[in-house]
């Protein structure tokens, strides 16, 4: 299963194996062992673990021993895990008995467990606890009774709630009593006893309980009554209490039936516009009974806030019949209205909507036509024939919209039309629009090689300035043809084309650019572009998923081509990132250049640490780097300055790895050694060690290489 496992400290899976076969006494061997742990006076951690396991395999036989833990401050919560889970009356009885004896939080916990188990036999005991001196106990009892939800439990809660002023209005006890009643009422409602539920909700609404409980009861009272609850819903929407309105807006979404939509629609004019807009939003969230005609009316007249909400709603629930109205609104003089309508036209689902928009293009004026063109583009409506003529429209706004649309809908066959707009733009503004559209269209083409053919054909005939633009589009398209064209540009005599193409190649997203880049690293006109090409080649070696042999070969070639330490270090870093024996050999070779000697030594040490086995000849190869095979033991390590020293022995020990060079994680000693013990001061890492059994010490200045000196033979 690999990583698909639960390897946890308190896992019980192991104990489940073979633990399911029950003996005649009903216990499994595993359960007997666990009960024995509980009886043995074992450490608390072991008893906790036993409880956890008994939650899965424990039987009634485990209950007495678990019950004994209910009075333990540390283990009560562990014991209740199996006691909540073990079926049967034994666990119920144990919890009830404990509830008679315990107090404080331990009693609260036991009552909570009784509530979870919904033990009907506990009602009488819990009813008495409703008047417990400890408020938390009374609260827990009230909620537990609500969870049980039987007739007797509900009666006990009702009786307590009816004692006006006992407990105090708004107190936690009153809140819990109300919660218990609401829980019971919810059970009634889901069981189809709506009128009983409504009565109980009403009792809570009238009781001196906190406002949130009243709102919950009001919601329940509305839902339990169905259509008959609509007047109460409308009353809440008129409330001056913001929270009551909020609850009503939520409840309006829950209450089924068309009568709600009608009633809410009728009340809109009597509400402040801001609130009416929220009601419109609630109506929008009732898709089963939605009244589109109402939204259409609201969208056209009335307060702006309500209109905007209705227009937005049409975008979600509208259909083809709403398009004419929305198109009219999309060219409204009010920018907010027009923007909302355009957004909704873009959102409405359905191909019939597309047909409607398409049909409106013929004869549309210069105000509407750009809107329709943008919708064609946004919705990707197949309307190229209607879009192309608009490129020549007298109105600049229409032309710009046509360019945008074409970028979204043009196909390969008519891509040259868009290319032509790039090659011969009417003015600078349209040139930018055309560039953007061509890019968007080109990266969308299903056949990128065919697309690149079109673009490359245009490139061959274009001016130098346009060629640079087309190269960028080709770079975004990718593929073999695009790569060929861009590689050709990189070898051209034009500095701008060299610059653009070498940048594009340096960021190429597929590894097939590697040979091109390696060639350019030697042949590109000018050192700047050669270096850029080489770095692009190294990037491919670093970033792409490659077989190890191929990556190593690329690094070998890159090292041969690299003339500067910067690129040599980049190659060494690649080899360090992907450790291999051959890579280590290359690092050793690279390290012969003095300028990169420290990087090569660090890389070699890192690779050695990760390799399972380093061939003996390689130890000879890395020897000139100062690396030797070594069995190193760290005796002590401290890091700091003056009196401010910290013990970093364990941290350093973790980094020892087969050689005399130690690499710390992170950037710098402070990061690798768990913080800065002496800020602002020059620090030293002092290490006492043995290397192949020979004791030694070394003091390493902050952030210097950690190379343990090797005692010379003799």
């Amino acid at each position: 299963m690999g990583r698909l496992c639960l390897a946890c400290g308190l896992a019980v899976a192991v104990s489940l194996a073979g633990g399911s076969a029950r003996a005649q006494d009903g216990q499994t061997p595993a359960e007997k062992e666990l009960i024995a742990v509980l009886r043995s006076g074992a450490p608390e951690a072991d008893q906790a673990l036993a409880c956890k396991k008994l939650a899965v395999i424990g039987s009634a036989d485990a209950v007495p021993d678990l019950a004994k833990l209910l009075s333990s401050e540390h283990l009560s919560s562990w014991a209740r895990i199996p006691l909540e889970a073990i079926p049967g009356p034994g666990a119920d009885g144990a919890l009830r008995q404990a509830a008679e004896k315990l107090s404080g939080n331990l009693l609260v916990g036991v009552i909570n467990s009784i509530g979870v188990r919904r033990d009907p036999a506990a009602v009488e005991m819990l009813a008495k606890k409703l008047s417990a001196a400890e408020p938390a106990v009374a609260e827990a009892a009230a909620v537990a009774l609500g969870q049980i939800g039987s007739a007797a439990a509900t009666q006990a809660l009702r009786a307590a709630l009816a004692k006006a002023g006992q407990p105090a209005v708004g107190s936690p006890q009153a809140s819990a009593l109300a919660e218990g009643c609401i829980l019971a009422a919810e059970k009634m409602r889901s069981a189809g006893r709506a009128s009983e539920a409504a009565a109980l909700y009403d009792e809570v609404r009238k009781a001196p309980v906190p406002p949130q409980r009243k709102r919950e009861a009001t919601r329940g009272a509305i839902l339990a009554r169905g259509d008959a609850g609509i007047p109460l819903l409308l009353e809440q929407l008129q409330s001056t209490d913001k929270a009551a309105v909020a609850m009503a807006l939520g409840t309006a979404r829950e209450l089924p039936g068309q009568a709600v939509d009608r009633a809410l629609g009728a009340t809109l004019s009597r509400l402040p516009p801001s609130r009416a807009a929220l009601v419109v939003a609630a109506l929008e969230d009732r898709p089963k009974t939605v009244d589109i005609g109402m939204f259409l009316r609201l969208a056209q007249t009335g307060p702006k806030e309500v209109r905007l909400a209705a227009i937005a709603a049409l975008g979600r629930v509208g259909n083809a019949t709403t398009v004419p109205t929305l198109l009219t609104l999309a060219v409204d003089g009010d920018a907010d209205v027009a923007g909302a309508a355009r957004g909704s036209l873009g959102n409405i689902q359905g191909t019939d909507i597309d047909k409607e928009i398409r049909s409106r293009m013929a004869g549309a004026d210069t105000k509407l036509l750009p809107v329709l063109l943008d919708l064609v583009g946004h919705r990707r409506i197949a309307a190229i024939d209607a879009v192309v003529p608009a490129l020549e429209h007298a109105d600049a706004g229409v032309r710009a919209a046509a360019l945008r649309a074409l970028g979204q809908v043009v196909d390969l066959e008519r891509l040259p039309i868009l290319v032509e707009q790039v090659v011969k733009p009417r003015d600078a503004s349209e040139a930018a629009d055309a560039d953007k559209s061509l890019l968007e269209a080109s990266v969308r083409m299903p056949d990128r090689e065919a697309c690149a053919e079109v673009l490359s054909g245009a490139y061959a005939k274009a001016s130098a300035a346009t060629q640079a633009k087309l190269l960028r589009v080709l770079g975004a398209v990718g593929g073999t043809k695009a790569l060929d064209t861009i590689a050709g540009a990189a070898r051209s005599a034009d500095p701008e084309l060299q610059d653009v193409s070498s940048r594009l190649l340096g960021e190429w997203m597929t590894a097939d650019a590697a040979p091109v880049l390696l060639d350019l690293a030697a042949t590109a006109p000018g050192e700047k572009f050669q270096t850029r090409a080489l770095r692009g080649y190294i990037r491919i070696a670093r970033q792409f998923i490659l077989p190890v042999e191929e990556r190593t070969a690329m690094c070998d070639k890159a090292l041969a081509a690299a003339r500067q330490p910067a690129e040599q270090k980049m190659v060494i870093e690649v080899l360090r990132r992907f450790p291999s024996v051959d890579g280590l050999r290359l690092v050793a070779k690279a390290g012969t250049v003095e300028a990169v000697n420290p990087e090569a030594r660090a890389a070699a040490a890192a690779i050695i640490k990760k390799l399972v086995d380093v061939p003996s000849d390689l130890w000879s190869a890395v020897g000139p780097l100062g690396l030797v095979k070594a069995n190193v033991e760290i005796v002590k390590a401290t890091y700091g300055a003056g009196a401010n020293q910290k013990d970093v022995t364990e941290l350093v020990r973790k980094q020892v790895g087969g050689s005399n060079v130690i690499l710390l994680p992170g950037a710098g000693f402070n990061a690798g050694l768990g913080g800065d013990p002496a800020p602002g001061e020059a620090k030293t890492l002092a290490i006492e060690y043995t290397l192949d059994g020979v004791a030694g010490t070394v003091a390493v200045p902050e952030n210097a290489e950690i190379v343990l000196p090797v005692a010379k033979a003799g």
Partner: protein, 427 residues
């Protein structure tokens, strides 16, 4: 030369900014002015926010909230003094005041009538318990994931949110990223044909810390309140290694691991792709690096560790009879056919930012609509993850009845649906 990326149907990658997809994905329900999007927002229109358990992830989330002009962050609660102080500084620096209040006990924060909503970014141990306490206190909430520790918590959480009329947004921000949303839409709307399989990648399913470590001297309660840190988790002695809320209790049994850590995202997206239906009804034991679950209609939900197109973390894949789509955190999509793009364009956003998810939440706080990561949707995804965890744990097939909310004739599995909370905490 082998390069997997070169084998991708590159036409399937959607480019940034082709056409703004924002209008298609942003719920525009009330005027922007009312949502505080166009300038200064009067105090009466602001959502007053409190933060509970604001560590690393919480600080990121908080940053997304503080970007919104209609948010006033008023108070922070954390069991760690250094976090309280750090978050107060962030808020006070943002507003140029000293007004951000600090609490060690979140109940005091919830008692404040002026706070409308809370950001819950504690460790997973606390998420559902704190969320339900917030709901009972009448607060809306943005709750980080995994939201629940077991099936029972998932069921009770969604009931509680509904009963209390609260707006709940799980920290499943990928639901508000256009490319994931589009992928799910392709599946939901039948564009891929009849659905056959949805794939999730619950990476790294390994517990990292035992639930009980040797006792060490506990710091002063004002510095670290260990009792509040344990909260609903069964008692254990103080040990500083357990103070990493992300890993706390992962060793304690069926409380998460990678199945929940990542499944709460990627399984959640799979659930969205299958129209947020009930969770699968059957979960096989893991085999060959994958665990297969089946929905009632036969569609398979496959938890898979490998063989993903490299699209970044949290990949999902949806397969229908007519096509497939795969998406990941790089912001990119790969489609079986470019024709699937017809009619739509999708903005490419990488790095899975939570900004849009936070905005969705705030809009819904005002409209009382359902945000994308609402409790019903999130809890169904969590139930699927918990059930898969139980199949992993028992190493055998389990069958789940969504109506009865129990495993079918399976006592062992049923006992793993819930776990007692430490006193005095309750669901």
């Amino acid at each position: 030369m082998v390069d997997r990326s070169s084998r991708l149907p590159r036409r399937g990658f959607l480019r940034a900014g082709l056409v703004s997809g924002a209008a298609a994905i942003a719920p525009v329900v009330i005027p922007g002015s009312a949502l505080g999007l166009d300038g200064a927002v009067p105090p009466s229109e602001r959502v007053v926010l409190g933060g509970i358990g604001i560590g690393g992830r919480g600080t990121y989330d908080l940053g997304c909230f503080l970007e919104q002009k209609d948010v006033q962050f008023a108070a922070v609660c954390d069991i760690k003094e250094n976090r309280r102080v750090a978050v107060k500084k962030i808020a006070d620096d943002r507003y140029g005041t000293q007004d951000c209040a600090m609490y060690r006990d979140f109940r005091e924060l919830l008692d404040r009538n002026d706070i409308d909503a809370v950001l819950i970014a504690t460790g997973p141990n606390w998420h559902s318990t704190a969320a339900m306490a917030a709901a009972r206190a009448g607060k809306d909430m943005y709750c980080e994931k995994p939201c629940t520790k077991n099936i029972a918590q998932s069921l009770i959480l969604k009931d509680t949110i509904r009963r209390t009329g609260r707006v709940f947004q799980a920290g499943t921000q990928r639901r508000n990223l256009p490319h994931f949303a589009f992928a799910c839409e392709l599946a939901r709307t039948g564009r891929l044909g009849k659905m056959k399989r949805v794939y999730a990648h619950p990476a790294g399913m390994q517990a990292m810390t035992s639930g009980w470590l040797p006792a060490e001297p506990a710091p002063d309660r004002d510095v670290v309140d260990w009792d509040m840190y344990l909260g609903p988790a069964a008692w254990r002695p103080f040990n500083p290694k357990l103070l990493d809320g992300f890993n706390f209790e992962k060793g304690g049994g069926l409380v998460g691991g990678g199945v929940l850590e990542w499944g709460s995202h990627c399984v959640d997206l799979c659930q969205w792709a299958v129209k947020d239906c009930d969770p699968p009804v059957e979960y096989d034991a893991p085999k060959d690096g994958q665990l297969v679950a089946r929905y009632a209609d036969g569609v398979e939900l496959i938890f898979r560790e490998k063989d993903w197109i490299p699209l970044g973390s949290c990949p999902v894949r949806f397969e229908g009879e007519d096509g497939w789509v795969e998406a990941g955190d790089s912001g990119k999509l790969v489609l079986s056919s470019p024709a699937l793009l017809a009619g739509r364009s999708v903005e490419e956003i990488d790095g899975y930012p939570a900004t849009f998810h936070v905005r969705d939440f705030l809009d819904c706080v005002k409209t009382r609509g359902q945000p994308k990561g609402n409790a019903d949707a999130a809890c169904n995804a969590h139930i699927a993850c918990h059930a898969a965890n139980i199949a992993l744990f028992l190493n055998r097939t389990v069958r789940y009845d969504n109506q009865k909310q129990e495993f079918v004739n399976d006592t062992e599995a049923n006992r793993l649906r819930s776990e007692a909370l430490r006193e005095p905490w309750r669901m």
